[in-house]
């Protein structure tokens, strides 16, 4: 897999700062190839969520460019952008009792014109996406009554009917129990492997990233400090340097992939680092 084979989304020297705030992204350059499955990791405040929102076109870079299929994203109209990039924010909680099937159908919004309603074709796509994400059984349940894992599946189904082949997710597994974490990661891996989608997820879980992503980007203070296959990026030494926590690097007995655990996990410990990672 070569990085420049077929670039799907590309960032060139992207800088971003919120109005009146300090620089959040400081010269980020990345090229995500089509069909790849990437993870963005880094300590809190390293700019990874902002990076994702810039990629989604929700924030416009102060300097630099985002290219979607070699086209400047800022020149793509919001409707067309929505048909090509799906973005799943953290903690989606609807204000009213939309049922799962309605929520999935709402993903068709950028494809429906004016005052239009969903067509037969739209509903067909909705059913297909719900079958694919194994959420058909939830279709009449209100989204706010679903568990975190069920909710994420429904929202992935909505992304499936929305965009063509690019999904950006902000911490899709953070609030989930370990069973659902694995479930969502498998779903995303399947999306990339079987459907050829490009998947970019911001995550806090280094071990999930090591297992389920082909490529890991590590950020610190608005800059990319490392990018490459998980085994190269997620070394004990680097994580120690970036997070400021001494780490042990182990090997997963089943997969052989690296597993990182904090070196000092004794309950009594004086705080000596300025890292905010617990």
């Amino acid at each position: 897999m070569s990085h420049d084979s077929d670039p799907h989304i590309e960032l060139r020297d992207v800088c971003f700062a919120y109005a009146g705030g300090k620089q959040v992204l400081d010269g980020v350059s990345l090229t995500v190839p089509r069909g790849a499955s990437w993870a963005i990791v880094g300590p809190n405040g390293s700019g990874k969520s902002t990076l994702l929102r810039v990629m989604a076109g929700l924030l416009r870079p102060v300097r630099g460019q985002v290219l979607l299929d070699a086209r400047d994203l800022s020149a793509v109209r919001s409707r067309e952008r929505a048909r090509r990039i799906a973005f799943l924010p953290q903690n989606v909680a609807p204000a009213f009792g939309y049922v799962a099937r309605q929520v999935v159908a709402m993903g068709r919004y950028p494809h429906i014109s004016g005052f239009g309603l969903e067509s037969q074709h739209d509903w067909h796509l909705v059913d297909e996406a719900m079958a694919w994400t194994e959420t058909e059984g939830l279709s009449r349940r209100a989204l706010n009554t679903l568990s975190g894992g069920e909710r994420q599946r429904v929202l992935v189904a909505a992304a499936l009917v929305q965009a063509s082949d690019l999904l950006l997710l902000d911490e899709p597994t953070t609030a989930l129990d370990v069973n659902h974490q694995i479930g969502i990661q498998r779903l995303l891996a399947r999306l990339s492997a079987r459907r050829g989608w490009t998947v970019v997820a911001v995550t806090h879980d280094l071990n999930l990233a090591a297992h389920f992503s082909q490529h890991v980007v590590m950020m610190k203070a608005g800059r990319v400090v490392a990018t490459g296959p998980p085994a190269e990026v997620l070394t004990g030494q680097r994580v120690e340097a970036v997070y400021g926590v001494p780490m042990h690097s182990l090997t997963h007995p089943g997969t052989g992939a690296p597993v990182l655990v904090p070196a000092d996990m004794t309950p009594q410990h004086e705080v000596t680092t300025d890292g905010d990672r617990a």
Binding site: R53, R79, E80, A95, Y98, Q102
Partner: protein
């Protein structure tokens, strides 16, 4: 429960058709409702030139001079408040938001009162056919309050129920105090107009008020209905809506503008009428679900019908009480705002308790 889960044009037509039928039936029935026994048939005969005796003309005066205009105004006002309530709820992602609880109606009332006090002394006389100065002032007052409440919520990061309601109540109290101050500085003649206006209600309406109100609220209705699809998206959150191609800032600006415009226009004529924008959208949502593309037209029509029925109460309650107790209360009317508040207050408390429970579950 007939929640519309898969919206098709057939279902849309069915839901909107039923709402329209309810509104029409209530509107027509309203011609018969009142303390005086009127032969509506005779009044209609006068309208078509089929009768011209004194009795018939008396009936005509009652039906088309009094009952019809107040009914139409109640319909337009209820429709507007329900639509504004639904919009505020979606924009603020909070089912307890509505013109009254947000303080928007009070802002409109303060604006209107200032206009009543200042317009004559500034030589502003309502000489044109369009919106009155009172209505424009009410719109400006309503818009300022919306912007303050929304800005407060924004600056605190998230608009949670309690901050929002607290901000709304604070604005309402502030506007209430400012209104007292305006009244304090008014002379007797001005004061009479103000108090009469503040009692609210739809009984003192002329067809001219109707026309001026319609010039403001009809464009606002159309703007709000056009936002329906985008409001669905915003109900899931600004980021998700933005990523789906909704121009979030634009939709919020148009929504707040149009809902304030509509609220101001009706508050200026009827005085502050509370809770219609809360009760009606909630009830309609419980029946047909939260899809704004069908919720908004249905809530609007049902809101109109609801306020017309409240107006029946306003016409009938005190005279009925009087007859029961042997008092002469014929023709005495309970302000319509009192009726909606008596119904809406307890309803609001129940919703608040329920929202608190559900928020606890989510966290």
């Amino acid at each position: 429960m007939a929640i519309v889960r898969e919206l098709t044009w057939r279902r849309w037509l069915a839901a909107v058709g039923v709402s329209l039928a309810v509104a029409t039936i209530v509107l027509v029935a309203s011609l018969w409702v009142g303390t005086q026994d009127v032969q509506v048939g005779r009044a209609v005969a006068v309208l078509f030139g089929q009768a011209d005796d004194a009795d018939a003309r008396m009936a005509y005066q009652l039906v088309f001079g009094l009952r019809l205009p107040r009914t139409l105004l109640a319909l337009v006002t209820g429709l507007t408040l329900a639509l504004a309530g639904t919009t505020f709820q979606a924009l603020l992602r909070n089912p307890l938001a509505e013109p009254y609880t947000l303080g928007v109606a009070s802002g409109g009332a303060l604006g209107a009162l200032l206009a009543l006090k200042l317009a004559p002394s500034l030589g502003l006389i309502w000489a044109w056919a369009g919106p009155s100065p009172v209505q424009i002032a009410a719109f400006v007052g309503a818009l300022i309050v919306v912007l303050i409440v929304y800005g407060l919520g924004r600056s605190m990061g998230m608009l949670n129920t309690y901050d929002l309601l607290l901000a709304g109540v604070t604005m309402a109290l502030f506007c209430g105090a400012a209104m007292l101050a305006v009244q304090y500085f008014a002379d007797y003649r001005e004061l009479f107009g103000m108090i009469r206006w503040m009692m609210g209600g739809v009984e003192t309406v002329a067809y001219r008020d109707m026309v001026s109100t319609l010039t403001l609220v009809v464009p606002a209705w159309l703007m709000l209905l056009a936002l329906a699809g985008a409001l669905n998206q915003l109900s899931l959150g600004e980021d998700l809506a933005g990523a789906r191609g909704v121009r979030v800032g634009w939709v919020q600006a148009v929504g707040f503008f149009a809902a304030s415009l509509a609220t101001g226009a009706v508050v200026a004529v009827c005085g502050p009428i509370g809770f219609v924008g809360l009760i009606v959208p909630h009830a309609v949502r419980a029946v047909i679900g939260p899809d704004h593309r069908v919720l908004m037209p249905c809530a609007a029509l049902v809101g109109g019908a609801f306020l017309v029925v409240c107006d029946w109460g306003s016409r009938l309650v005190l005279p009925a009480y009087g007859r029961l107790r042997g008092l002469d209360l014929e023709g005495v009317q309970l302000p319509i705002g009192v009726i909606t508040a008596l119904l809406g207050g307890p309803f609001f408390l129940v919703l608040l308790l329920r929202s608190r429970r559900s928020e606890r579950v989510v966290r």
